[in-house]
């Protein structure tokens, strides 16, 4: 019951929660977003290209990733990455990969599939006339994409990309299944050590809510501003 709700539990755990847990979560979110958007944009360009096989490969990758639960993908890479490392480095045994590196690779590869769908929609929302105008000026494919199409696509899609980043931020809590001390993992560790599940999980929920809600409110404001500019 609420009567024995102990704020001191939270207070004592706060430094650990923020310095270890939250820093892990935010770093993972930021790096995976950056990697995911770069890889996702490449996948989108592959998917829209007229070269043979590239669109099929990109579509196969994106659709497979989007069909799988993130938890399963986390397990997949957790076990697979050491073997890939072994293969890449030509060593004679699987490479031990740290928890952070493993999660970062997983989230980058997984979220790239979702970012690629957003970027594809963004690119397709730019009229063909833009492409033609670019080519008519003598630009090549790279230049047309890099300076005409992609900047517009990024601008149009900025709110959606940011919303997906908030989803990614929440998704990182699933590294819990690997017993990694992210924000939730840290809360869980303290909760189990001190036997204070109620306090710690409510605190974790409040933390996630505060960050997600603030971020999504800002995104909504940005969306309105973009809508006015257009």
């Amino acid at each position: 019951m609420f009567s024995d709700f102990d704020f001191n539990v939270i207070w004592r755990a706060l430094p650990y929660m923020l310095q270890e847990g939250l820093v892990f979560t935010l770093t993972l979110t930021a790096l995976a977003t950056a990697g995911g958007i770069v890889l996702g944009t490449l996948l989108a360009l592959m998917r829209l290209s007229s070269l043979p096989f590239l669109p099929q490969i990109a579509a196969g990758y994106v659709n497979t990733m989007r069909s799988l639960p993130l938890v399963l993908v986390i397990f997949w890479f957790y076990f697979l990455v050491p073997y890939i490392g072994q293969w890449v480095l030509q060593s004679d045994r699987p490479i031990a990969v740290g928890a952070f590196a493993s999660s970062l690779i997983t989230f980058t590869l997984f979220e790239a599939a979702y970012f690629s769908e957003i970027m594809r929609a963004g690119i397709q929302s730019i009229s063909r006339g833009q492409l033609m105008a670019g080519y008519a000026l003598g630009l090549n494919y790279r230049q047309v994409m890099g300076s005409v199409i992609l900047p517009q696509a990024f601008r149009n899609m900025a709110p959606v990309l940011l919303t997906q980043t908030i989803v990614l931020f929440q998704d990182t809590s699933l590294v819990y299944v690997l017993s990694i001390p992210d924000f939730l993992g840290a809360a869980s560790k303290v909760a189990q050590r001190d036997g204070r599940l109620v306090e710690m999980y409510l605190f974790a929920a409040a933390g996630y809510f505060l960050i997600s809600f603030t971020a999504s409110t800002l995104v909504k404001r940005l969306q309105r501003r973009i809508a006015i500019i257009r």
């Binding site: 019951m1 938890v71 399963l72 073997y83 293969w87 599940l197 999980y201 996630y208």
Partner: protein, 243 residues
């Protein structure tokens, strides 16, 4: 790679004593489908209700609906499941809390409720968007004929809104199925948990995950095909052919 493949593992008897490793996966699939389907029904019912009240010309219902959506959207599903599973029984009166803890299949019910509420916020967003996408004249025409507000929603707005949002609802349904795997953290032995268990018992990790991956892919294809069929079935001749 010095990994020893053994695809025959699925035909070997499982450590549970009954059936093979493959049967283990199938039981997991059954729980995945059961949890996903029940949670989806829950999400559809709550989400539709919340979506509708957010479009009513009433400050209080709109405010309540917005708060509901923000609450369930801004907390990760895993954390929400922990709240339902670990925290709720401690916050209710002791006798109810005890009953909750001793409930058979507690992780299944918790998963249905938790995933249901989590997804209902997304469904509510879609339903609201579908209603708003309709021309304003449609509700006026309904009211002008003397239909009450409830009748206007029931006979005029919702039949069209649901058709419009069928494609996004399909992907939300698929998300619901995928999200059931999060419930392995509260002890639901669904498909992913089964694959993980095979890995622990037999060390044939990649065979187990490959099998689970293929099953998820097939489930996805099946549901997508069924929903495409449903879309065609409820399609209205002459409407939206410009696409």
């Amino acid at each position: 790679m010095n990994y020893t493949w053994n695809w025959g593992i699925f035909l070997e008897p499982s450590p549970e004593g009954v059936g093979t490793y493959f049967d283990m996966l199938l039981v997991g699939l059954k729980w995945t489908i059961a949890t996903g389907a029940c949670a989806w029904v829950w999400a559809l019912v709550c989400g539709s209700l919340i979506g509708v009240i957010r479009t009513l010309p009433n400050r209080w219902t709109v405010g309540f609906g917005n708060a509901y959506v923000e609450l369930f959207r801004n907390i990760p599903l895993l954390v929400q499941l922990f709240l339902w599973y670990f925290v709720l029984p401690e916050l209710v009166p002791a006798s109810i809390g005890l009953w909750l803890k001793q409930l058979p299949n507690a992780s299944f019910f918790t998963a249905v409720v938790g995933i249901g509420f989590f997804m209902s916020a997304r469904v509510a967003e879609q339903v609201r968007a579908g209603i708003i996408a309709l021309p304003r004249g449609q509700s006026m025409a309904g009211l002008a004929l003397g239909l009450t507000t409830a009748q206007t929603y029931r006979y005029v707005l919702l039949p069209m809104a649901f058709r419009i949002i069928l494609p996004p609802l399909t992907s939300e349904f698929l998300n619901t199925i995928k999200n059931t795997s999060v419930a392995l953290t509260i002890g639901l032995i669904e498909l992913t948990a089964r694959a993980r268990a095979i890995q622990e018992f037999s060390f044939q990790v990649f065979e187990a995950f490959t099998a689970a991956t293929l099953i998820y892919l097939m489930l996805n294809l099946l549901i997508t095909a069924a929903m495409r069929w449903l879309e065609r079935w409820v399609k209205i001749p002459g409407y939206g052919q410009g696409k």
